[in-house]
């Protein structure tokens, strides 16, 4: 059975509960259960192979050049975690069916849960660290959704945000670390990385990679000082807490430390960072757990403490400790998930989770009580239960660990942690279940339906079974998992209840004795706790967050306060400064290319251009005048193109110039014609300075470039234009053939631009702006003759001629200057002249072409031409051409590029006309006159009867 299917199933299945909720709550839960069961069954088919100690790899290349592949593998460790995730997932799904209230959206819940489950299984079965990172982030996201499931609760939302921030930041750190690790090992595949222990530990990047990866692991597994998010995440529904925060997600960090244990562990750095963090977390969290009144808070801190314990064991770096770590992960998952479900049951039945309001529940809910008693005793490490065994192994390892030359420190701290653990575990038993029954529970408690206690009972059966017969029940599993973690031979160990009179047994006895004493003296202990300072993690977190946001805002607003002027100023100054630095930090030599002689005509044109440019800058406040001067500059640029052997560019520039001027005139009709001088003289001179520097830079760069020879690709295009593209106009062949894909993109952009213009102006006709336009009073005198005779006659005569010219330019484009772009512009100009001469209303009534459709049709034509190449098994836009013979006409040439150019031609017409016509339409709104029936006003003879 395929491994990827196990990972994929929960993702695919996530849709099911969301749909099945329409059928009913049972159907919804059943669908989620079935999907998980299927994945679990698939996983179990791999069990025989895993227990033989084999590994299985499957992989699909995804982005092989980045080293990112969909590689999965399964060995003891992956199997163990996947089984935990899916197995406990099954129990949680049953439990949640009874836990969720009627008004909770159950479909959403199960969909999120399955997404999370898939992401978790993905982490533990990934063989590629990049793939693992993707799943890692997915768990952060899906857990965010789950923690914030009760959207109406502010604590839920805040807890979800905090969890996402902390684990997300850790995830970023881990991405960096993983990339370093992959870089050192030369592969991103875990099975490959695990072979390079010496290489990795000898690398100078080992320590940074280690710290970054541990940053991800510690945040995810809530290790001190990142432990604070976990208790706040307890605002989630109890099934979520039980699943994410005891059995699975928080174990992801442990999993990764175990996964990379063979290559990362065993060094001094690893020991001091991981073991110390783990031990500190274990002691501190256990101490805090002792004073939590909320049952889930107590369990949350207890979980943090136990995660610390496992981290500590992994940090020791010895194979024996690794075995203990694996065993404790298994044991903790069983008793802690049972306890979380139990806390949920109490909340459900008694109406509160506050320990101070509980007590004496054992007789009222005997089943739940028995389950809790056993699970909590296991958590305390009482013999004959599984918690005892792994805690004993931990103490044994701690007993002979030396920390910075101190032999007593680690054993003492480990015993202290165990002591607090005993105390809070018994507090759960004594303060909740024992004592006298009370009469003031918010609800009258009794045992819940089987669906709610059944899953936890099953887990407690495991707790007892492992506790009594460890070697028989858990032995093979622990062996195969520990073998996978260590990646070498297993140490000599025995899972047994009685090891003789060992130091660990003594430490255990001390822990139980002192722990019970602490609980006996709980009231005075609590006084001591309350006197001590309590740093409020949430407030600190929010302060840090607020400070970060404030700094970021200050920085952003300082740079960009919304003013275009300031923004552009920074941009230009940055460009000038960068250019200057580059310029002044290099040596300069004059170019050697022979120069062309300057002709008198060229000097005159140059003078005109310089005067025009400066003139625009000086006269820009007189808007019409400035527009005319810009037009002059444009014409000289077109002439320049013509002079320097670029007839196509000259044609394009001149037609664009015409269209642009018309467009600006149409806009100026509505914009103010003159404007105040706004900037101070100082500011203007500052801008003149910046502009001069910028101009010098650009001019200098141009000079440096064109006085030197450079290499060019043009040889290829010149040689292949005729044989490859079937055209002698190389520029056109490049546009429609060699670089046709670029052109295809550009006509799409042009179409989008025209659509934006239409949308902007069409929207303006509604609402307040529309009313404003309708009541418009022209700010300039209008000509009395709106449609002058001469203009109308001239443009109407010109129309067919201009269309002919357009067609001609289009047809010859492949071989001589011309082509779709230019022809499109020429035709547009001819058409827009009709609008200008006879008015928008008159022309629009006669123009029966929808410009939107024209744009779409043009793009489509070009696209289809490209696709046709596929039919001949060629890449998109491969062109072909041939010579054909027709009677009468004779030999002629036809290139598929022609069809493409037609697309360009139509799009250009459509886009240009849509832009201009939209603007004219706005203008038409302002003059409130009826659409003339004739092409021109006939005011020459206004007397009735004299009309012609």
């Amino acid at each position: 059975m395929s491994l990827d299917l196990i990972v994929l199933l929960p993702f695919l299945g996530a849709v099911l509960p969301a749909l099945m909720i329409r059928v009913g709550r049972n159907a919804c839960a059943t669908s989620a259960f079935t999907v998980t069961l299927l994945a679990f069954a698939l996983l179990m088919t791999h069990a025989p192979m895993v227990f033989r100690g084999e590994t299985l790899r499957v992989g699909v290349d995804w982005l092989p050049r980045l080293g990112l592949n969909l590689n999965f593998f399964i060995d003891g460790l992956g199997f163990f975690f996947a089984a935990l995730i899916l197995g406990i997932g099954l129990l949680i799904i049953i439990y949640a069916r009874f836990y969720l209230a009627k008004e909770d959206p159950m479909g959403t819940f199960y969909a999120y849960l399955l997404l999370f489950q898939g992401a978790m299984v993905g982490i533990v079965l990934s063989d590629n660290i990049l793939l693992l990172l993707i799943f890692w982030e997915l768990t952060s996201l899906s857990s965010f959704l789950l923690i914030g499931y009760w959207k109406h609760l502010p604590e839920g939302r805040q807890g979800a945000r905090m969890a996402l921030t902390v684990t997300g930041a850790g995830g970023l750190s881990m991405i960096a670390g993983m990339l370093l690790l992959g870089d050192i090992a030369g592969s991103y595949d875990i099975s490959e990385i695990l072979k390079h222990k010496e290489q990795i530990q000898a690398s100078p990047l080992y320590l940074p990679a280690l710290i970054l990866i541990l940053g991800g692991c510690f945040t995810k597994s809530a290790q001190f000082p990142f432990h604070f998010w976990l208790p706040h995440a307890m605002a989630a529904p109890t099934p979520v807490s039980a699943y994410l925060h005891s059995a699975t997600m928080v174990k992801a960090g442990l999993f990764l430390m175990a996964r990379l244990w063979p290559v990362l562990a065993g060094t001094e750095e690893w020991f001091y960072i991981v073991a110390s963090t783990g031990l500190a977390t274990m002691v501190i969290a256990a101490w805090i757990a002792l004073f939590k009144d909320d049952l889930k808070g107590l369990l949350a801190f207890s979980t943090v403490s136990h995660l610390g314990l496992v981290t500590f064991l992994l940090g020791l770096g010895t194979p024996m400790a690794a075995v203990a770590a694996v065993f404790h992960i298994l044991n903790h998952a069983t008793f802690k998930a049972a306890l979380f479900m139990n806390a949920g049951i109490i909340d459900h039945e008694a109406g509160t989770r506050d320990i101070k309001r509980l007590g004496g529940l054992l007789l009222l809910m005997p089943i739940g009580g028995t389950i809790a008693l056993l699970a909590a005793a296991s958590m305390a490490g009482i013999p004959l239960l599984n918690g005892f065994l792994s805690k004993e192994m931990m103490l044994e390892e701690a007993a002979h660990t030396v920390w910075a030359g101190q032999t007593w420190l680690i054993p003492a701290l480990a015993t202290l942690g165990a002591t607090f653990s005993v105390a809070y575990s018994f507090r759960y038993i004594v303060h909740v279940y024992l004592g006298k029954a009370r009469h003031d529970y918010p609800r009258h408690p009794h045992d819940p339906p089987f669906g709610m206690w059944g899953p936890s009972a099953l887990l407690v059966v495991g707790v007892v079974a492992i506790g009594l017969f460890p070697a028989a029940v858990a032995g093979p599993l622990v062996a195969v998992v520990a073998g996978a973690v260590i990646g070498g031979p297993l140490p000599d160990y025995h899972l047994a209840i009685w090891h003789g009179l060992t130091p660990a047994l003594g430490m255990s006895l001390i822990a139980v004795a002192v722990g019970l004493t602490l609980l006996w003296r709980y009231v005075s202990l609590r006084g001591f706790w309350q006197a001590a300072p309590h740093p409020d993690a949430k407030a600190m977190f929010q302060r840090t967050l607020a400070t970060t946001v404030r700094l970021a805002k200050g920085f952003t607003h300082g740079l960009h306060n919304g003013s275009l002027q300031r923004h552009l100023l920074f941009l230009i100054v940055a460009a000038v400064v960068t250019g200057s630095i580059a310029f002044f930090s290099a040596s300069h030599e004059a170019g050697t290319r022979p120069l062309l002689a300057a002709t008198p005509v060229a000097v005159i044109a140059w003078l005109l251009l310089v005067v025009a440019s400066i003139g625009v800058a000086m006269l820009h406040r007189r808007r019409l005048m400035a527009l005319i001067i810009v037009g002059v500059a444009g014409i000289i640029v077109s002439l320049g193109f013509l002079y320097f052997s670029a007839p196509d560019l000259a044609l394009t520039q001149i037609s664009v110039e015409v269209v642009t001027v018309i467009l600006m005139l149409l806009a100026l009709n509505l914009l103010p014609k003159k404007m105040p001088r706004e900037s101070s003289a100082l500011r203007r001179w500052r801008d003149v300075g910046i502009a001069t520097l910028g101009g010098l830079g650009i001019g200098g760069a141009t000079w440096a470039m064109i006085t030197r020879d450079g290499s060019t690709l043009s040889g290829y295009y010149l040689e292949n234009s005729v044989p490859g593209g079937g055209g002698t106009n190389v520029v056109n062949v490049i546009l429609v053939d060699f670089r046709g894909f670029d052109t295809f993109g550009e006509i799409i952009v042009l179409g989008i631009a025209a659509t934006i213009i239409f949308a902007l102006l069409d929207g303006a006709l509604q609402g307040e702006v529309g009313r404003k336009l309708a009541a418009w009073v022209p700010d300039q005198k209008r000509a009395k003759d709106r449609h002058p005779l001469m203009l109308v006659v001239a443009t109407r005569v010109m129309l067919p001629l201009a269309l002919m010219v357009g067609a001609y330019i289009f047809l010859r484009g492949h071989n001589l200057p011309g082509g779709g772009f230019i022809a499109g512009l020429v035709v547009s100009v001819a058409l827009i002249m009709q609008y200008m001469a006879s008015g928008f209303g008159w022309a629009a009534q006669r123009m029966r072409v929808d410009y939107h459709a024209l744009i779409g049709f043009g793009v489509l034509t070009a696209g289809v031409t490209g696709i046709v190449a596929w039919l001949a098994d060629r890449p998109f836009l491969t062109s072909t051409f041939g010579h054909f013979h027709l009677p009468l006409i004779g030999e002629f040439e036809l290139a598929s590029a022609m069809a493409f150019d037609t697309g360009v031609f139509l799009t250009v017409i459509g886009a240009t006309m849509l832009a201009l016509a939209s603007l004219s339409r706005i203008g038409r709104w302002t003059d409130n006159q009826t659409v003339p029936e004739r092409p021109m006003d006939h005011h020459i003879s206004r007397r009735p009867g004299k009309e012609h």
Binding site: L564, S645, L696, L718, A764
Partner: protein, 128 residues
């Protein structure tokens, strides 16, 4: 000749930069137009200057200018027309919405004697 071209590009760019730093939308549009000329010309001359050598294959002719920058600039001219059009319309719409053609859409505050009295009414601006 090279000097004339380089300096002309420089002057157009300088005028363009000065204009885009103005506070009203219209000069910014003009400035962009000038910057467009300068940029397109710059790309164009990266094929170096050549006279009477258009890249149109003819028998017996062996010297052609570089066609590639021309192809790039041809589409650039058309695209920059699209861009200019969008910006012009954007500034028009912003003016119609806010009654101000200040680049950041700031309301009219400065009443300067330089401005000629604009017939108000729909434009909603009364200059004292």
């Amino acid at each position: 000749m090279e000097f004339l071209v380089a300096s002309a590009i420089g002057v157009m760019a300088a005028a363009g930069i000065y204009l885009v730093l103005r506070a009203r939308t219209y000069p910014v549009v003009l400035g962009l137009a000038l910057l467009t000329y300068a940029t397109n010309a710059f790309i164009f001359v990266s094929g170096r200057l050549a006279i009477n050598a258009p890249p149109i294959i003819r028998d017996g002719v062996t010297v052609y200018t570089d066609p590639l920058p021309q192809a790039l600039v041809l589409t650039a001219i058309v695209i920059s027309f699209g861009m200019t059009a969008v910006i012009v319309v954007l500034s028009l719409r912003s003016y119609l919405e806010s009654d101000s053609d200040q680049v950041d859409g700031k309301p009219e505050e400065i009443h300067n004697e330089n401005i000629e009295s604009i017939p108000d009414g729909s434009q909603g601006k009364t200059t004292p």
